[in-house]
């Protein structure tokens, strides 16, 4: 393929296109609840023609729900959307496309097994007497893609091309269906630097044509490289909006994570002298190509290591590598000074590791099974098939942890899928605590659970630590990390970029490291 080239320097991105004054798309009062959970609370957003508008927020901030309610995939409870002043209310993705509102998702929603040309024109191929005019379709496909400086074989299957090209094909399909607003949902998550530039060139070109682009990403560099304005959501609410000049990095990170510097001098527990704590696990040069850059990590008994960073920075990936859920392709690991191979969950289990994943529903609970069965699962897996826990033992374990962690309702025979998120989380903690692990890895243990359960889980982390367990905790709740962590490792762009210990662990210091703001780091330190 002939690589398309970015003809504008990226620095010019922000100011090169003064967006016209009249709003292209205007959302006001968008609200959506799922049962008792409020996913969106009166969110508004204004997109101007020719503008690239970043939509930012952590997990659970409401970005996805906002996009889904805009494009009719999910029906909103309240809110008005005006496209060029005319109220629109699409009830399906198809209607949204017809209205001029197209979405390209991270995992491109095209048919990878069909040719590029078929994908561009699926459902509206040029035909003669019912037969698709293949030659004409290819000619048009080449013409459409030429517009994006893309000269590829349009008769080859889409899957033979890189993710970046698939994105451009999806964008081309949307634009060719006369989209005026383009929503790009994390298009850059799996692209390399060059591919990102290619995509940006396309976005600039479309913006220059007057198309409004909503760009969801979790790479801050990209926000400043290409966007004109930013809207930040937090906990389903509008947390802030402004031009990139009005929202420098530090402000942006603070808006996303919702911390004011003043409140950041949070109290913290007495930190143990890290070097005195006995070493449990030492990882050196541990990493996996394209997943997380190689890193060193030491986990000590009775100490908590916190992993901080924005969504997609490599926090979860680090946790998975340590547990062996993903196999590292470089580096070495020792446990108690002896070399060990972290090759999979089964090995991790026998080594005395435990891991509560962030995705409770898809990777944590087995929804149909009871609380009791979910709790004993890992312990049973370690004992093996032939040494079943008797029903009495299972009951005893389940009851003990239900009492210890205050799981509600306190019914061990209830299918776990019927419990609230916080109680599911506690049951998953119980699953691993039952194995009496030496190292417990928790990925966002307090995500999506109510305030009461929040405090209980933090108290539990401290207790476990005091009992001599080593903990590795991923969290985007910085005040929380500050209160329990003995070391905080900050990640950015899938690499470990900073390590804070002792008195250096403060919210401003973590924020500064996340925002890559050298001065702030220095100040905080």
């Amino acid at each position: 393929m002939a690589a398309p080239h970015a003809d504008q320097p990226s620095a010019a991105a922000g100011s090169a296109r003064p967006a016209s004054g009249a709003p292209l798309l205007e959302l006001t009062g968008f609200s959506k609840s799922f049962g008792p959970f409020t996913a969106l609370d009166a969110v508004s957003l204004t997109l101007r023609a020719g503008e690239i508008h970043a939509l930012l927020g952590e997990n659970g901030a409401g970005k996805s729900t906002l996009i889904k309610t805009m494009t009719g995939v999910v029906q909103r409870d309240a809110g008005v959307m005006r496209l060029e002043g005319v109220p629109v209310m699409p009830r399906s993705a198809g209607e949204a496309t017809a209205a001029g509102l197209a979405t390209v998702y991270q995992e491109v929603n095209l048919a990878p097994n069909l040719t590029v040309a078929q994908n561009l024109f699926l459902g509206r191929q040029p035909t003669f007497l019912g037969i698709v005019r293949e030659r004409e379709m290819r000619r048009r496909a080449r013409a459409v893609l030429a517009d994006f400086d893309l000269d590829i074989d349009v008769s080859a299957p889409l899957e033979s091309y890189s993710v970046a090209i698939r994105h451009i094909v999806a964008i081309a399909r949307a634009v060719d269906q006369s989209a005026r607003v383009l929503i790009l949902d994390e298009p850059t998550a799996s692209l390399d630097a060059h591919e990102v530039e290619v995509l940006f060139a396309v976005m600039r070109k479309l913006a220059a044509r007057g198309i409004g682009i909503i760009f969801v990403t979790h790479f801050l560099d990209q926000v400043y490289a290409i966007c004109d304005r930013i809207t930040v959501l937090r906990n389903g609410r509008l947390a802030g909006t402004g031009t990139i000049a009005e929202m420098p990095r530090m402000t942006l990170v603070r808006t996303m994570l919702g911390r004011e510097l003043a409140e950041a001098t949070a109290e913290r527990h007495e930190r143990a002298d890290l070097s005195a704590a006995p070493e449990l696990v030492r990882l050196e040069g541990f990493g996996k190509a394209g997943y997380v850059a190689p890193f060193d990590l030491t986990l000590r008994r009775g100490a908590v290591v916190g992993l901080a960073g924005l969504l997609g920075s490599g926090r979860t990936e680090t946790a998975r590598l340590v547990f062996g859920a993903e196999r590292a392709d470089s580096g070495s690991a020792t446990l108690d000074g002896r070399p060990v191979a972290l090759t999979g969950p089964r090995e991790a289990l026998t080594l005395g590791f435990g891991y509560c994943p962030e995705e409770r529903k898809t990777e944590g609970i087995v929804a149909d099974l009871t609380v009791r069965e979910n709790i004993v699962l890992a312990l049973q897996a370690r004992r093996g098939v032939l040494k079943p826990l008797s029903r009495a033992e299972q009951d005893e374990i389940a009851k003990r942890f239900i009492r210890l962690l205050d799981i509600r309702p306190p019914d061990p025979e209830r299918p776990i899928g019927l419990l609230s998120g916080g109680n599911q989380q506690k049951a998953l903690l119980a699953r691993w605590l039952a194995t009496q692990p030496r190292l417990l890895i928790l990925d966002e243990p307090t995500r999506g659970i109510d305030v009461g359960a929040h405090a209980e889980i933090i108290a539990l982390i401290r207790t476990l630590c005091a009992e001599g367990m080593a903990l590795l905790v991923v969290s985007s709740e910085l005040e929380e990390i500050v209160t329990y962590a003995d070391e905080v490792i900050v990640l950015r762009d899938r690499a470990h970029v900073a390590s804070l210990t002792g008195a250096a662990i403060t919210v401003p210091a973590i924020l500064a490291a996340i925002a890559e703001d050298g001065e702030a780091t220095a100040n905080a330190a």
Binding site: R346, L377, P388
Partner: protein
């Protein structure tokens, strides 16, 4: 919710009772049981006796389906193992005969399990291979003939009786007990339900899903072998063309009637056997009622449809909307 949910299995047991009652209604002698030459006879005994092979198959099938798999090859495996048993019976001791037949069943299961667990082929495709080739292998063993035998030991497994109860029924009960011990007496049952319910979560919890997959397909192969031996012993011969023909579908149906979802997860071994008895009771009932036996398949089709609709997630949500609208 104030209404207490019915205990699992109520529907199946009620269905079986209803079908038996209807059978009793159309054929008043249905419940008559008499003892003759030390063996029980009667229509009810007949249902149990004829239902035994499918019941045995369903014991393996229920585990496979609970793991989100399916085993299409059991009918063909029955034919293979029946053929082996019948060919060896007259020249070898019963132990050798049975060991060969059951060993062949385990080997077939190992093959299926290898394709699914190690090569990662989707179960319906993987077991299709043996479904197609297996019957040919069985014919190869019998050389296309119906191989008959006279060995009384093997014949006892099909036509004999223990304390008046026909041997196939005894074998089915013994296998049911054995299966229960294997899955509920060990942690296997829990691990199967966990893996079928959420494979990713189960693997992360440290369950060796690959080994369990292998074991489950081998168990299915073993059950098919036993069913094949019983079927061959029943007719004192092996008919490679017809032994176990389409019984894989009956076994799948029995499991589905028994309330185990084709999408895996929770399973009930006992209810799968009840499902097999429901199928057999319908067959016998249609026969007794004087309807042409051809009705069988139509009735079966209707049963499948009813069970499907009852399991359909879409229908459940529709029902919810409907009841909400009415209230």
């Amino acid at each position: 919710m104030t209404v207490k949910l019915p205990r699992i299995g109520t529907a199946q047991i009620l269905a079986l009772a209803a079908i038996l009652a209807i059978n009793g209604f159309v054929s008043p002698q249905f419940f008559d049981i008499r003892l003759q030459d030390g063996r029980l006879f009667g229509s009810l005994i007949d249902v149990l006796n004829r239902g035994a092979p499918v019941a045995i198959l369903s014991l393996g099938m229920v585990l496979v389906i609970a793991m989100r798999g399916i085993d299409l090859s059991v009918g063909a495996v029955m034919a293979i193992c029946g053929a082996i048993a019948a060919s060896l019976a007259d020249d070898h001791s019963l132990v050798v005969t049975l060991a060969a037949a059951l060993g062949a069943g385990l080997a077939c299961g190992l093959w299926n399990g290898f394709l699914v667990a190690v090569l990662g082929i989707q179960p319906i495709v993987a077991t299709l291979i043996l479904m197609v080739a297996g019957r040919g292998i069985a014919q190869l063993i019998t050389e296309g003939r119906i191989v008959t035998f006279t060995d009384p030991g093997l014949a006892f497994l099909g036509g004999g009786s223990v304390l008046g109860v026909p041997t196939p029924v005894v074998i089915a009960l013994a296998m049911l007990a054995l299966t229960l011990i294997v899955v509920r007496g060990t942690a296997l049952g829990l691990m199967i339900e966990a893996t079928g319910g959420n494979p990713r979560a189960s693997a992360l919890a440290g369950i060796g899903t690959r080994l369990i997959t292998l074991a489950v397909y081998m168990w299915s192969g073993l059950c098919a072998a036993i069913a094949g031996v019983v079927a061959a012993a029943d007719i004192l011969g092996a008919d490679a063309n017809n032994a176990g023909l389409w019984l894989e579908l009956d076994a799948i149906l029995a499991v589905v009637i028994g309330g185990t979802s084709l999408f895996g997860g929770r399973f009930s071994v006992v209810l799968a056997v009840v499902g097999a008895l429901i199928i057999q009771a319908m067959n016998t009932g249609i026969l007794l009622s004087g309807f042409p036996p051809e009705m069988n398949l139509v009735v079966k089709a209707v049963v499948v449809l009813v069970v499907l609709l009852a399991q359909s997630p879409r229908l459940a949500s529709l029902g919810l909307i409907f009841s909400r609208r009415r209230s």
